[in-house]
Amino acid sequence: MKTPSAQVKKIAVQLAAAFILILPAQSMAADSFAVPEGVAKVMKKYCYECHGASWVEADVRLDVIATVSQDERIGLLEKVQEVLYLRRMPPKDELQLSQQHRDMVAGWIQSELAKAGRAEAFNQRMQSPRYANYVEHDKLFSGEYKDLKGFTYDRKWMISEFIFKEKMNALLRVGEAKRTSVNGKSEVVRGHALPSEIANPFLLPSQSGVRYYANSKMGSGHLMTMIGNSKYVSESMVNYLSGRYPDFLPSVRAIAETKSKHEAILKSRDLYLSNHIDRLCEDLYGGENEDWLPRYSKIEFKDVSGKGLMFTGDRAQKQFDSFRNSAEGRLIEMAFFRYADGAKGREELIRACEKYWFHLGLQSNQIESMVEKLQVNLEDFLTRSTTDREKRSSAWKLNTPDLKPGELAVVSATIKELRTKGMSYKALQKACMDHWKAGFEKALEESSPLKGELPRNIIVELYDKIYEREPSQSELAENQDLLLSYSSKMGVDDAITKLTQTLLLSSEFINRNEYGVGQADTYGRRMMSPRDASYAIAYALTDSSPDEQLARAAREGRLNTRDDYKREVERLLKDRSHVYIIDNVIQDLGGGDNITDQPVRKIRFFREFFGYYNALQVFKDQTRFGHTIGGTRERLIAEADLLVSHILENDRDVFKELLTTDKFYVYHNGDNEDVAALSNQLTEAYRYFQENHWREFKTPADLEKHKDFILKHGVPGLKSKSKRGEITKIDKDVFQLFINIMADYEKRFENGKNEHITPYSNTRDTWIGPKRSLTYPKMTGVLDHENVTHYYNIDPDHWDYPPVQPFELSHRKGVLTHPAWLQAFSQNAHTDPVTRGKWIWEKLLVGTIPDIPIGVEAQIPQDHTKTLRDRLASVTKAEMCWRCHQYMNPLGNAFEMYDDFGRYRTEEELEHPDNVIGKEEVKKRNVKTHPLQTINNGGVGQGERFFYKTLPVDTTGVLNGTGDSKLDGEVKDAPDLMDRLAASTKVRQAFIRYAFRYFMGRNETLSDSKTLMDADEAYLKSGGSFDAVVVSLLTSDSFIYRKQAEE
């Protein structure tokens, strides 16, 4: 370490002295703490030079450790413990502690922390993903530790956001309907987004790498959010699903059915009274009815001439309809229909309505408002409402059929029983409804008493649905008591709902247990219980509970050996009968499917490892891009998923392929047959109309002559207003669209294309003529989505579209050169060599980088005469910075051959107002080529695009860290770097380490050495099969065996 200059050192000493002087009294208090002599000597020799009285590096001063307050001391001890463990101190270029000294200091610190009750804090911290790489790579794969017995501690592992989603969807039976998808197969798609009423409290962190770890534990936030969720879910289960599905809580169904019948009766009575209560009361009370009503006195209203609603012009009827469909309009129209025929003249009609509203029991200001509207707009009601009176009368249920036999007598009797003088109709109606409701609740309790087997059956069914197991006897007993207690205070159905909610709020619902059972072996390990194992296997590969075969294997004692595990894991890996949504964000926004029929967690490992899905998190300015971005980045991510899926489906040299493939998907749905057929359809349509001189078409009649071709063959993009694309004749709109489409076809073909143009459409459902399969929506999204090609420097208008993909692209090599990854590791307006290099250093070379020191403001300086690489170098060259940046910058710099959108470049634009050399309105995309063509440039980027001075990019870098002298060294650019990384043993093993963490949910330790080496060997022997790695990991000791956690 360099010695600070004398002057700086002097100032530091003064500051340190001042610090000591102003320490509060309690900090100076001697609490009889003493540093053992041996430890003190070691610290003095190795630490005090930089962390002592004469120099206080990073605000850490250790020579005063005995005199500071207890809290401060604990903080200091924890810091020292960490840097010793991680071997960050002393710095590499300083005198190093012997192992004996290191152990002595570490042991002392641990004992002091134990005294303070902080012994576990360090261990827990070391369990987080960010410390995983600190286990020395060479040791793990050296074979030195392969005889250590692998195991995982017994644990409760909180469910992930994905498992929660699937649990909820299963409980609510969301997405059970089959749909036709890939190649016309009929299948159930899993992984749908949650109903909007449910909040997901188990969201995983967004960083790349492994996101779902078992050391995340439930906190109060999870429970608080679950309270809201549980209300919605319990009500849906008990009140809705049990009634709809016969097999869903059958014991509750009888209650639900009774309740449903009651509700239907209540609804019909309510409707009847809403429409007829005045008439019924007149029948029942005859001439005395008026005496029972509130006393009506005419309301004096102000002059409202000239005021009222304006229903004028072309939209008058529409405006009127909108008004009469409002709550107020409905009441006016109801009264109007009642009295329009009998009233003599306008005044009498209005008074009759007013009186009716008064007797209904409406508020006076509401009556006033309605009377005034009726006064002013009576003409509208007279002319507009009478024309469709019959229809409207029916719509407002004025002609409600009579009640079912016997019902009128019940309603009449209740009115007679409950009516008191002065009661408005609304009040009377409410009294009746409350009365009947209470009666039905009582009847429900009497007809379905929570006696006998019913409570037990309800609880058994709820346990089956919620916990997927049977309740124990004690659980049965206490839940029965609880149910009865609830039912003593609320209706039976509400009590069951409350019990359901109670069960949903248990910690059992939000945790997955992984516990060993049975006799421990000589190493203290026990195999997971078959039930726990079935969930561990299912959740390793999917987000769902064990499928029937796996659950049966657990029940029938066929999940007790390593071979049992192997059988089930291999079966699930081969299973293609389920389709999963990979990412709801992409599915929602990408304009098409983001699905896979492989086990979803296999693909998710790589998308999280690479972290390319984070591209969406980096806000990009489309003016800088020069094209509309909308939807393209979702498509970019979906196409990165396609690439990963494709490589995993081939399952050969997977890691190498991921790092070095030069074949990519661009504006494709992954189904070559589908896309080729579409492209051919489009080309043939173009040829047909070219031969038939479409340019000479002047009217729809000209196109009408070719209707048979259109209906039989289809013209991609040509759509009708009909929801299903039916067409009876070619109208002017279809004709106009045809002209626009053909003009666009022609422009593209004229731009040098031979075979295929980029397929596009608007809304596939409304296409006229034959359509492609349901994978086709991936190609929709109109012109905006085509802009995805610009990330690859491809102009879609000049692109000979390859329908068979992935296809070879120049200047690209592997996922790290995919624009999705490059954007995910970029800043808003520039590239980010640091995070790119850091990713490679940590993920592929399993290196470590400490956090940015406190007080360091990591900013690349502004200098509009230099490239970003040079500006970065200028600020990171300082020794303190370079200590870490030496591992990142040389790797990340190689990616400077791409800009922050992921476009290949040889020159870097020096984006600064002073460097502007030109600007232009973003060029219009569509050019008019036919006199009848209409131009829509809605999909073009907005505003002005600026052009700046440029400098050549330097794409050279340095690879240092593979441990292989043939690979380490200078690299010329990113593809060169990727080739070398892919050839590295260490990089291959890095994939294995991260896969271990992903599938085990924890960091690896030396006792997992054999597990890791076996997985690596399985990969090599299988010719680079990732499936082989997964089988190896999920049948390893580390996965199968459990030990009791230490107290």
């Binding site: 369990q127 909040a199 429970l223 709020l505 300015d621 800088r624 808003n828 307006a829």
Partner: protein
């Protein structure tokens, strides 16, 4: 499937806390303590707020020109008259700040901004998957916990019941809001109106606690700590429910009159009356201490105005006003003015109610900020170049803003401030040290102009 109206209906507890995300670990932290909590009211409106209508009529020619040219200026409100829109707040002028020139281009703007204006990200028509971060109101609610946490009220799009809201509790989570006064009343004051359901919740949580305590004994290590923590959370809930029951007497004395809410809050009532009823409810949940943060969407573009002075019988679509159509011979600008005057009267209602309630040596308003702003920028088809705010803040306000008319320089020039700077100021001033809240503005980025951090002149030393 159940309607959302049924969501939360069973208990008071759920109504308040359902939307809190995992970050809400400070359960009950608001109880006790010596200092009074800060309160925040966000009043969102649709159709854009025209900046020139908030300009001060007594500006000199020089100031008028600067204001019109979007140049920086700052004047003492005390030395000027307020514009027509704001005269109802004349008596509270010393508590007012008019903030002009801030931009909101990181939000969608246009007809609707959905959750974007309070979360400062682009949304895809409010799709859950685009909700990038907790909105500013939720961030503030975390700093000042209360029994109900955060409450959202809304009149957007003629909805009623409990519906999707425009606040964001946590990334990728939708909020729920009360969309009519009667539903809001019955749910927010349920501990008074239906204490039995709260007691049932207490019974439920007591049972859960019993089973979870058993679980503590059967686990070890980190799982044990987590389980113990879980039990502590249950204890906190129990404590809070008890508190709510204890508070019910006080709440009952401060909650709005039922007849008033029912008379003015029903579907057929004038929109202005429904909005007033909601404002009364809003003020009541603040003065009862049920919450410290409320977001109130007074209207949006799909809203129909009824009962406007002089146009009582007209049902005026906000969109129509936005496109400049006149109604009954009254031009759109005049209608817009009547709408805004009504809105600022609602603001006055809230301020008056809070000023009427003592707190410490002053009133509850001393610790409150009431903020009025457009969801979609400066006009009907706003693009977020400007987002004018009117703020009413009490004397203990942590920000140094009141009594001033402030115009920041235009977007793309040195010194310009975005809503990101404004929200960062709110957070920094109240204990969240975040470096910058929200997405960055692309124009400022392209121009290489500084745009991160709080508005320093607003922060008190």
């Amino acid at each position: 499937m159940n309607s959302r109206r049924s969501f939360l209906k069973a208990s008071m507890l759920g109504a308040g806390v359902c939307a809190f995300g995992p970050s809400f670990d400070a359960l009950g932290a608001g109880a006790g303590g010596n200092s009074f909590p800060k309160r925040f009211v966000f009043m969102r409106v649709g159709n854009g707020v025209w900046p020139e209508k908030l300009s001060l009529p007594t500006f000199s020619d020089d100031l008028k020109e600067k204001d019109a040219n979007k140049q920086a200026l700052e004047v003492d409100l005390g030395k000027h008259e307020l514009p027509d829109y704001l005269t109802c707040l004349n008596d509270h002028k010393e508590h007012m700040a008019i903030l002009q020139g801030m931009s909101s281009r990181m939000s969608p703007n246009g007809h609707h901004s959905y959750q974007g204006v309070m979360g400062l990200f682009k949304t895809n028509e409010g799709a859950v998957s685009t909700l990038k971060r907790a909105s500013i109101d939720y961030e503030l609610a975390k700093l000042f916990p209360s029994p109900l946490g955060h409450v959202e009220l809304s009149f957007a799009s003629e909805r009623k019941g409990i519906v999707d809201g425009w606040s964001v509790p946590a990334p990728y989570q939708k909020n729920f809001c009360y969309a009519d006064p009667i539903t809001a009343y019955n749910n927010l004051f349920q501990c008074v109106l239906d204490p039995e359901s709260l007691k049932l919740d207490i019974e439920m949580f007591d049972h859960i606690r019993k089973t979870e305590i058993r679980e503590v004994a059967s686990v070890r290590g980190a799982d044990k700590l987590a389980q113990e923590n879980h039990v502590r959370t249950l204890d906190s809930i129990r404590k809070r429910n008890d508190e709510l029951l204890k508070m019910s007497g006080k709440i009952a004395s401060l909650m709005p009159d039922r007849e008033m809410v029912y008379a003015n809050g029903h579907d057929g009532a004038f929109s202005v009356d429904r909005q007033r009823a909601m404002a009364e409810i809003l003020a009541s949940i603040l003065v009862t201490g049920l919450t410290n943060v409320v977001t109130y969407t007074i209207d949006n573009l799909d809203f129909h105005q009824t009962g406007l002075p002089g146009l009582e019988q007209s049902r005026i679509h906000n969109h129509t006003i936005g496109h400049g159509e006149s109604v009954q011979g009254v031009d759109a600008g005049e209608i817009r003015k009547r709408v805004r005057v009504h809105h600022f009267n609602l603001m006055k209602t809230i301020v008056d109610r809070l000023k009427a309630h003592p707190e410490g040596s002053g009133t509850m308003f001393d610790n409150t900020m009431v903020m009025y702003f457009p969801e979609g920028g400066e006009k009907h088809h706003g693009n977020g170049i400007e987002s004018p705010w009117v703020v009413m803040a009490g004397k203990n306000c942590n920000l140094d803003i009141v009594g001033r008319y402030v115009r920041f320089p235009a977007l793309g020039t040195e010194g310009h401030q975005t809503l990101g700077n404004w929200y960062t100021s709110l957070l920094n001033a109240h204990g969240n040290p975040i470096k910058h809240y929200g997405d960055l503005d692309p124009t400022m980025t392209r121009m290489k102009l500084p745009q991160e951090g709080a508005i320093k002149r607003f922060l008190r030393a």
